[in-house]
Symmetry: none
Subunit: 192 residues, 4 copies
DNA sequence: CATGAATGAGGTTTCATTCAT
DNA sequence: TATGAATGAAACCTCATTCAT
């Protein structure tokens, strides 16, 4: 089913999510994937190469799951935003918020160190913000939201609240704060 | 004058801010502080020890600058929130948003790996949230804010928006997105 | 041919014998074996790991040479004890008694510090004592030794005399004292 | 009462006994003696210097306690050898045989590495052997021992049995084996 | 495709000793 | 006498990567 490259990328994705990119060693990945040195360097040119593959894989998945399947769907905009919040909460509830947002973490760890990582991450966040912005615009058209609201800036705020909420939840190792913030989002944007 | 320990802590604070804790080597600090190996371990028991000292120093400073001097001040609540936003923006404008929030970064890098780091960081965020919560309560009392607003949850949201906004700005290496978010905060909480 | 692991173990065995375990650095072994840092840690998980491998190798060799080939042989018991003394003397004469007993040294250096070392060493000495005890029992059966002799306690004494004799010889850097003690053993147990 | 030098020497003596000379750091001693770097190097030229002081202190004590007060005493020779065995057993029973013979340990650790240590240790063992030899000669004169016994060689054997017995007891962390050996000594030399 | 031996720079830490005060 | 800052070599170990088979 999966190619070997995909398989290794997936395994690396989990480890990098839990330990960070720099703290993850090629050995960690080899051990988890049950492959030897030669194998690894056969499939990937370098650790950096693998790191980028992980980000791409992550971004591709989330584009499908979040952008395409939820935000760009033909649902009612309110439904779409609610589905987005549920999707985020489900992900983090599953792993008990312990390790935070896989992409947000890499954004912080790598943005200042490596432009290739940064650009891929930036692209994802841009898509996310833009899709939310479109949804907000729909809401305004539908009179579900006041037209004084700037869709772009408010989309940025919503994404920021989610990422910041995850950060705060991680620092408390408790998902409650993220749930609180979702309530505020729902109130502010009339999602109930 | 600074003590030598304080001096090294300050130097390490900058390096850790720009590279992260794990990617910062004791050698980096030695070189920047112009001290030898032995000297470093004369002042600090371990790199971990230094890391904690850096977090403490950071937290102490920000408690003074943000919590005590701004949020717990006797100013009008609207003024206080505005001063908070200016304070945040000034910090990040100075370093061109390149490296993100020194405490938020450590929250993400260290929370899942080390409880000692996590607790110190959690404590700071709790204070920040609580102080904002008190300010929002004042605003409600003053009829500057609708009483349907839950001060605690909205305080969490505001801090999350700031931290998330910094994250997004870092991923774009551009402070504009943080400024956009500040505009939304001002609109939502009537700070103009 | 030796495997590389075996080869390094042998080299380390000599160095550890002459300097002791703690005073032997991984660098010493690397230099003697002509390998790099990484290579050493490719073959051994840690210096401790290598130390245990050295003890095992040593014990295995001596079990074969002393326990199996000499003491558990089908010779006359007197012949076996004499062969044992010759075997011990030969080993120490070869290296001019300079460094003492490789196992006795580690017993003293490591027993109180590390249970893994201690247990392997204890097991060897137990086997040695037990084999000598069996030989003494044979002698009693053959009327070569008075039946008032307790085989176990006298076996312990004989091994103690040998190890203690090596210790005294080392402290004088002169094998004569060990030879003197062997004469006493021969007289006490009628080995002439 | 004690001079400072003596006090530090005593503290170091205990630590070196339990960890060995090489594994004992100057810091360990400073910490245990509650003194600073400067203090230490005021009283001792180097760690080596302290090590020699420890051996001297040890040897001086044991010369008094064992050689002078017991073996060179005017008691009956049988009594003197019995008192010697009791003295040895008492010392090791007190510390549950854990760390072995302070002098025997140093003999093994240092003899091949450092002639200054070696000579001091050799001198002590020589005195011990010679004193026992004199006692055995007395016994022969008193017809308490057969005149075919060579006093010098048998004295060496007795000391070897004691040191070797301690070694075996340490490797089992159990003093029983030393007690067994004492029974054999008593039987062989008619000390009951 | 695959193995794992080899490399060497660099990681954190400890050490004995010296020096300025 | 006494303090503790400073030094730098060397300790154990990990790492990403390359190479021979």
């Amino acid at each position: 089913m999966f190619s070997r490259v995909k398989e290794i990328t997936r395994i690396a994705r989990e480890i990098i999510h839990s330990k960070g990119y720099q703290a993850t060693s090629v050995n960690d990945i080899m051990a988890a994937a049950n492959i030897g040195k030669g194998q690894f360097y056969h499939y990937f040119q370098s650790k950096h190469d693998l790191g980028l593959a992980v980000v791409e894989d992550l971004v591709k998945d989330w584009e499908e799951q979040l952008i395409t399947s939820i935000l760009n769907d033909s649902d009612d905009p309110v439904t779409k935003l609610n589905r987005m919040l549920i999707w985020v909460e489900t992900i983090h509830a599953k792993m008990e918020i312990k390790y935070g947002c896989p992409i947000g973490n890499l954004a912080i760890e790598m943005s200042a160190q490596d432009d290739e990582f940064r650009e891929k991450i930036e692209k994802f966040f841009n898509q996310w913000v833009n899709s939310v912005s479109v949804v907000l615009t729909e809401m305004i058209k539908n009179d579900q939201l006041d037209e004084s609201i700037d869709p772009q800036k408010n989309a940025e705020s919503i994404v920021a609240m989610i990422e910041g909420g995850i950060l705060l939840s991680v620092s408390q190792q408790n998902i409650q704060i993220l749930k609180d913030i979702f309530k505020v989002i729902k109130q502010q944007y009339h999602l109930n």
